[in-house]
Symmetry: none
Subunit: 237 residues, 2 copies
Amino acid sequence: MVLVATRNPLNIGAVARAMSNFGFTRLGIVNPYDPAFREARSAVGASAILASAEEFRTVADAVADCTLVVGTTAVRHRQIQHALRRTEDGAKLIRKRLKSSGVALLFGSEKFGLSNDDLSHCHWLIRIPTHEKNISMNLGQAAAVCLYELIREGKAAGESHKMSFANAGETDRITKMLFDALRLSGFLDMRRVSDSELRIRRLVRRLNLPARDAVIWLGMLRQIVWKLRRAEPPESR
Amino acid sequence: MVLVATRNPLNIGAVARAMSNFGFTRLGIVNPYDPAFREARSAVGASAILASAEEFRTVADAVADCTLVVGTTAVRHRQIQHALRRTEDGAKLIRKRLKSSGVALLFGSEKFGLSNDDLSHCHWLIRIPTHEKNISMNLGQAAAVCLYELIREGKAAGESHKMSFANAGETDRITKMLFDALRLSGFLDMRRVSDSELRIRRLVRRLNLPARDAVIWLGMLRQIVWKLRRAEPPESR
């Protein structure tokens, strides 16, 4: 990650924080507006990255050991001379290259972005698909989005934790218990429809209960049914 | 987008800016630490969003007209009671639901994230796949990443079969009615746990009720509660 002519040290801190969030470590700073960037606050967990950030006089120096240099842009007035890729397409190519060598991702100043001179060091550019009404992103937020896109497909997708659902037997026990509760409460007498049992069966199936919840619902209904039974006049028990 | 107990007005501004960057407009603020959030600077292009941001006293009020409430978490110490999805998997589901109704995306305070009470209003949670060494993201950056993920796939193919889901207000009425039924039946006395109300709130949200079923469930529970009330000895009515 290379920041060129960044004005606000807080933004450098924010970029460092995003790097740390997504597991990146090398930060290059070219001509910062305020050399006090290492003291940037609000960079939770990023102090190591800030401390080891390298300062360069030119973009050429900063990207010297990289085989691919990618610029970022919001494409405002400027005529773009480079291939421009959406973040997700660009990220794919960057990931690929990162397996064998270094890649530099360049961000320009908050006010002007990358200059034509800066851009001339880039192989191509990426653009975050912002809304046309406000294309200009905050530097720290743009960096977070780009870095997120870089790691997005990295880890195995098995992390979302899987839910096991109630099986048909459990679902059926719940249905029967609910039916009992409805009968005892008088609900079924009020709405006489020929297929009420089927309706209730479908209703319960639409719940798609997770297995652990099925146990709880069954327990709750059982207690309600027990209480309703106790309230019945003896002859109808 | 709903921000709960946000401490730093600058972060509210940053979230508003990311919303504007990605074409989102409705911002809800629950109990901000500093009510001066509307003056948040550094919110380039986001003044309209900040000006029209709604302030709420409770999470329940803020999400009342949404059919899906998604929390965000970095999963630190807390035991997670919800299904947890990676951003990209969650975003898919959110996009789908957004075609037919409102979705709330909840962010907690910078310091503590969402409380267990806040989380109990959520159907499920998403987590940005940050690096284990520094999982805690800046609020504005985390919001930018989530919103980016939401628009990332742009114009996906239209959907065939639309279901309309119960909104949070309806879900809340069902929750309260179920709670009444459980109290009257003695269920709550048998299983004394400090957070039974939160547990039941989560349980009902996991049902993901279709709107038409919500009406039926509410009617069934109302009848059961009415019957249980009648069975109570008069002094305790």
